[in-house]
Every structure is written in structure tokens, then in C-alpha cells.
Amino acid sequence: MSTQINETNFTQEVINKKGLVLVDFWAVWCGPCRILGPIIEEVGSEVKDVLIAKINVDENPVLANQFGIRSIPTVILFKDGKPVEQSVGVRSKEDFIAMINRNR
């Protein structure tokens, strides 16, 4: 299960969160995002202690701009509220799990 993040709950759900949050920046019109969506959900069901969050860039342009998002899908891993690693494009489930593990 992923949490929908918007400009209202971002601070509470991501910035103030202790530990790891994996944030998927996406949009409805983005083809690769539709492929990545289920992969990110799978990551969430395997790695229970990491919050999986999704940000729709069309509805939340301020957040997209704040993190310099210029291509989607972009995934940013936050640790204790700070971005620690980022990837652009579709990646495999194993890649994301490795990304999470090396930032624990």
C-alpha cells in the first residue's frame, strides 16, 4: 500500500518521518510511470518498514519543482526527512530494494 502525498501532507508524511520513505513522482499521462507503479507497490509489500509514497506532479507542481523533477518517473529515497538517493526512469524491484538497503 502506498500513501498519496500532496503539498498539504508532505511535511508530515515525508519530512518529519523518521527512517526511510521512498517517493515516486509520477503523472497520469506518463507511460513509463504506469510500468513503474506496480513495481513500486511490490517493493512496498516486501520492505515493510519503508513508507512508500506517491506524488502526482501535475497536482503538486510546487513539490516537483522543489526537488528539481524534470523527467518522470523519478524516485527519491528520503532518510529522516532528507533526500539521500534518486533514480530516473523504470528500475527493477531489486534495484529499489538495494537502494533502500544501502541507505539503512
Partner: protein, 307 residues
Amino acid sequence: MDTTHNVIIIGSGPAGLTAAIYNARAELHPLVIAGLEPGGQLMTTSVIENFPGFPDGIEGPVLMQNMIAQAEKFDAKLVYENVVSVDFNQKPYKIKTPGNEYLTKSVIISVGSKPRRLDLESEAKYWGKGVSTCAICDAAFYKGKVVAVIGGGDSAMEEANTITKFAKKVYLIHRKNEFKASKIMQDKTFTNPKIEVIWNTVVNEIVGDMVVTGLTLFNNQTNTESELKVDGMFLAIGHIPSTEIFKDQIELDEVGYIKTPDGVHTSIEGVFVAGEVADPSYRQVITASGMGCKAALEAERYLSHLL
């Protein structure tokens, strides 16, 4: 690692997925190494109006998702990994990805082609941070901003015009003093008030902080460097076949396309080819699918002779 697959399909555009559907229906349990850009180039297009059977057109990404679903329904397995090397010197053939090594009796290569890059270090650094090859995907991020498009062909003109729907200004930068684009696209470009053409110029460096903030340009007539402030750069300088990993393993032509006597077979027994990687001339969804079908049937025939 232990199992030897019947057939591994490298690539997941229309060619690879059509091959997967055919081989899966033949109960060969194909493995599709789909890459990190699954669905291929169609994932970054909008509506496809010339694919038969869809009178109202179909969106590229939807068509590809349907093909993936169709292949998986018949038990094709997709993995989202990039192939890093292949070994066709001994059987079973070996295919390596960063995390796995696969063995297979036959291979269908359908890796397609990819947008040509400038090959600058700064280009890799700002990939997805202001450097893009897909206006349809990323133009919306440049509302009210200034953007450079590099290229002189139809696709450069198309990208430039698409981006003007969002950006306030588009510089179209070309290394020559004339475009090779069609007249209709050139007219559209020259009459678009938001587009300014910069002739005889190449990009020497991309500069920025967290995202792109500008370009260092080089004018090849005056031999002078200059700075240009932009928020993003879109590349439209053609496509190259994605065949580096095969170059010591299989015969390629001088550009890098895989050589094939008949559009299906390659210089290696049991290794077949489909789609744009062996077809520089047509490059259509339907031709790629057709080639995928042929390759799948040839692979099936080859496997039946092995038993």
C-alpha cells in the same frame, strides 16, 4: 542460473512482445529481458493512428501495456533488467544482467534503437534534471521557462514546436547552416514566434546546479564560445541501434545494425533478430511486430529441430 531457457527475448518493444506472445502461446515459456525502458520507444509517444484495428487510434503506452498483459497471460515472464553482456560462443548461450546470468537455447534480439546523445559528462549528470530526449514526456515541466532543442531534422522541429506549448522561448540549435527537415516542418518552425534558430553551433558543455541552468555553446564558423541561459535541453539528433553489447558476438553493419540475410536470421545459429535493430528503413510498430512474429516462428522451428 541452473535452468536453460528455450528462448530469451531481449527487448520489450512491439517486436519483442509480439515474439513473446507467439512463443508463449507455443508453450515455450519465453523469458523477456525487458530492460529499464520497457515498452520501448512507444512509451514516449502519444496517439498511434496507423496501427490496424484501432480506428480511433491508441495511445502508445496503452498499446504496449496491452502487449505486456497479452504476453504475460500466456505465461511469458518479464524481468526489468538491462543486458550487460552476451556469450554466443558456446551453447547454451549466456546472457548477463547486473544481477543475473541466464542460459538459453535460442535468443531473439529486439533491443531497438535509442536516441543519440552528445556523450558529454555533464549530459549524464543532468539526465532527468533538465536534459531530455522526449518532449512529449517532459515538456510540461517547462511552463514559462527557456529551453534549447538540439538538432536539424523533422524530430527536432517537432520537439521544438511541442515545447512552445509550455515554454516561453525555445532556441533551436543546429551545427549546420541549414536544416534537413521537411519543408512543412521548417515553415512551421520559422513562423513560430517562440522559436529562435542558432546556426552553426554545437553544445560544448551543460552547466547547472541542482538542475540545468545553461549551455556553453561553440560556433563552428567564428570559432567562438558563448554562454546561453536555459532551463532545459532536449536532444533530437537521431537514433542509433542499441547494439554495443553484441559487437564482438554477432555481425553488425558499419552503423551498428545487426546484419541479417532475410530480416530474421543472424550470423549465429539460434539467434534471431526483430524490429528496428535490424531495420533502419521502415521503423514502424506494425513492421516491428511482424518481424517479431517471424523471429518467434523461426525460433520455434529451430528449437523443434534440437529435440
